[in-house]
Symmetry: D2
Subunit: 337 residues, 4 copies
């Protein structure tokens, strides 16, 4: 039996969602909806079996639609997801889950009450390289985590309504949340700048503080001449570098670090350095979105809780909200509730 | 006529200074002084003509010593430089000029009063790649500057007495000061962490705010599995990436950016994107230290003001002091006097 | 009016051809034909409007088929292309045009006699980076050409019937033919080895000699741990490096070289070296196959001669035939007729 | 007791030899000899304890000279080495051992007869990365060797008297000889070109054939815009890539390859592909020349046979001689005696 799916929004990301739902054997893509009819025309040629419309009501009126994938601008996520859930459908929402933590909580409550799946498209959680790193963390091989550092910069589309944290850092925060399970940020400090007067910040630097001697930093930038996608996750025993643009060795594990010995009788600490081999695990192929769509379908079928559920979406939104406040105050730290 | 030089400190950096002074035809290296006689033994074999000693007084007692190069730990810079100047000698001090801005000012005043050259070893100012970038800035080719972003990370020696800003970020701040002439930071925000309890911070992130929509960020880190030395200097017209580890094209100039048009009648801004050619200027050979030593010798001979004079040293120290304070307050912004 | 197209073969390359014909607005993909019905099933889901069949006769029986794209193993190219042309259709044949130069000549003659377009899928001729290099050559900027050197290695599928030259070097030879217009190879020498007993050579090194002091070399290898796609085209004035795997600067133009002066009175040559800037032209986006399909459609509409016509295909096959002979004789040079 | 050493030739390579002998505690550098007195002046300043001269006889007249290091142009190696040995001294000769295999044999015989150490400066045999690869080969980890492929290109000094094989490929041949112990080339084929009329070839491609399904290829080039130093050594089980310019992971070991199964009942071969992890062993620091000098001193002290003895030098010269002949015949294979 096939799951009836509608995709809302056919701009930048929608085509990827449509393609991946389309190629999933357990799914029937029934509708694609976009306010702009021109965009839909491209689609018609490619997927003649899919129905097209420009208003959301048409989608909801189809009783064969079981789930809705929302790939519209983030300020519309809340209302579309709310209506989706209220109509009894499951929802997969593009990141960020929505533009406000209170509304995110409302969606979580609604989904729980109605027994529907609410999942957020934190794509990197379904990326084989990121999963490989999570396995490394869980195996204990890295040892106690020391820091997370992520750079995501390129010459990218300046968004009008949200700053670069909402657009780019959301990926890194979702990864951080996934790769450091159980670690809760207690405060953030963020700095940045808007180079176009009256527009949101196009460069931002964000630090997350944790209870322990753990720190996370993210550099998000729409105005860089080169594209960089590099994440460091360093533990006491081993250190990981994940370069998403590297064609062959995307994940490298370094047997490097320091060892601290407390020489009590000497009244001092001795620090020694380790610099050993580097190892690059084979990363299986597989498109993250394909894995993600399969996971969404399974959660609907089995009632399982998605890896990137509403709570994961909410945790990320809370951090961005706090960071945006700190940004306005030139780095002043903001506590996370 | 030859300039009599003494080098104080023969640890990590001292050998480089000795070699470069030694190879300068206008210099006679008369003394190398280090508290540790073992270090000096290595030297004896290599430079049999140089006299060795373990106390500074011996150096000062030699009337043929015209200038002193101080390559000792930074907390000793002030006292050694002070005595050097008071004894009527010229001083070249390893970076940072000293560990306190008030003392730096005292050295500046002393040098001015006694008419002696006080120069700080901001090595990158004498690096041909950095000079090439400065020329690009001055030519107007980059347009109005938008941001400076510098990453300097590797698995490096943890220092006991100073945090990583004093050790690594000092290079980036000196470069920033040189590459953005006339731009004065008004405040800084810094975050970071000390992974070894009771020790100074080994990771730090520093943001400098300026009057205008200009921002600078530095990432300094002693605990990274990979070595990165990358600086971005982006202007409205062109953007520069300087990768000090790149064997061939160390400086790349990108014809990339955005163009903002104010469409008054439309009540909105139009942003368009440019992505053109990339150009990598030929960087001449030449060791920075060799150029620096030559400059020091010339300033002594001609009375010219060094490019990296005491004021440059002081500006950098003030920023690090403010950043260290901000670091302790988890990013709270600190004004620059 | 739409061009009716059939694609024969839906293995490795066929899906790319189908997709690009499908997305061309002037084309109607009427048939995809493959001996293997399983392969066709995948297609059915994706392109529900396309008709499927397992025998070529069905395709030829459809009067609305105007052109046939042949993407089958190379030993079937000749017969399929022959029938295509004889039935009055235009043919686009995957590289190599066929497995024998006499047969390639027969196809050329047939197409000429029947007034049909015969085009070979030398994909790189339609690649924007390669076109950019051709423009550089034609502008005279590189000066007199000195050598072409191309490396195409990775861990690739060992083919059963043909050696690695027929599979990989064909790309480099087609590029060479295109980038050095008017230069005719006079002889080739090739070496290599078959690591699997009884199978064709999986590593080959090929040198083309020209009349002048021009040389070309190609390294083709199915058994390499890393993927390399690098081509050098060096002229007296400037030198080009084309790295097809480089994400950003795929083409680099180096102002490097030597200058030779004949010092007659000194009875010797003076060689001086130039090492100037490097420049990387912006390469437009655009998939090569899309450009190629458009060119095929245009040639049919206008009667223009395709860039990669049967003669281009024949020139490449002749070189591979000669190289295969040389390979068997451990590098003995073989003249090109 | 200190070994008295003289270095002959203070051009490109001589200064490296002098420095490394100078820094060896068991050596006293007594003389440096060069026909050009200007070169020696630079030296005087740097190593005031070393005696300088412009004729070789002066060196030989000093009874405290135990060993001579010959770093002059290769056409002078034979005569200088011969006189060195005849005078009872040990000889370390820069690569190639000399310019003719018969003369190399004469030096070998002379050294044997007089009981003196004759060593050739095949520097890469003392490079820690190359030694690491040799250990991998000997451990059996790579499995049966399949091929060696080495690229050594850059914009380098055109030599007047010898082609690029004598200058660059000698390194790769020495490495090949060392990394594939017991494997004897039976024939070579070489191609190339001289871009400057009347001068030796500045680009050369060399293939070595072995008895088995093993092949080696070397690309040596003085006229390339980029510097490449990459060697592949591929075995049935694992494959090594050695990139001498890579700052961090110079040696990478790939768990990649093919597995061939003979399916007799199916009358065919099944080839399956392996693509596993990549591993980069930590390469210790240490300058190759320092290790080499120490080895030379030890061989003299203990009578041990140098790793790069006269026979190693001769094997390399024989290959270059055969390759040069093949080069003149456009790739025609030449047997190795």
């Amino acid at each position: 039996m096939s799951l009836g799916v509608a995709v809302i929004g056919y701009g930048y990301w929608g085509p990827n969602m449509v393609r991946n739902f389309y190629e999933n054997d357990d799914v029937e893509v029934r509708w694609v909806c976009d306010l702009n009819p021109e965009r839909l025309q491209k689609l018609a040629r490619r997927y003649p079996s899919v129905q097209l419309c420009t208003d959301f009501a048409t989608v909801l009126a189809d009783p064969k639609v079981d789930a809705v994938c929302i790939a519209t601008p983030s300020d519309t996520h809340f209302e579309l997801a709310r209506q989706t859930l209220l109509s009894g459908r499951h929802a997969l929402v593009e990141k960020p889950i929505c533009d406000d933590s209170a509304k995110a909580q409302e969606l979580i409550d609604l989904a729980a009450r109605l027994g529907r799946v609410l999942m957020v498209d934190h794509t990197f959680l379904y990326n084989p390289a990121v999963r490989c790193i999570r396995d490394l963390v869980e195996s204990g091989r890295l040892g106690r985590l020391l820091y997370f550092d992520s750079t995501r910069v390129n010459l990218g589309l300046f968004q009008r309504d949200v700053n670069v944290l909402w657009d780019l850092a959301v990926h890194d925060l979702a990864m951080m949340d996934y790769l450091m399970p159980g670690q809760k940020p207690v405060a953030v400090s963020a700095t940045g700048i808007a180079h176009v007067p009256g527009q949101p910040e196009n460069i931002a630097y964000l630090t997350c503080f944790f209870k322990d001697t753990l720190v996370a930093h993210i550099h998000a930038n729409w105005l860089a001449p080169v594209k960089l996608r590099r994440t460091l996750l360093c533990g006491e025993k081993e250190m990981v570098v994940y370069d998403d643009l590297e064609p062959s060795e995307r994940v490298k594990v370094y047997d490097k670090g320091i060892t601290v010995r407390d020489e009590s009788e000497l009244q001092k600490l001795l620090i020694s350095y380790r610099s050993g081999d580097c190892w690059s695990p084979k990363i299986g192929p597989g498109e993250a979105l394909q894995v993600e769509v399969r996971h969404f379908v399974e959660c609907i079928a089995t009632g399982a809780v998605p890896l990137s559920d509403g709570h994961a979406g909410l945790r990320v939104v809370k951090l961005i909200e706090a960071a945006t406040l700190s940004l306005q105050r030139r780095g002043e730290p903001v506590e996370i509730a």
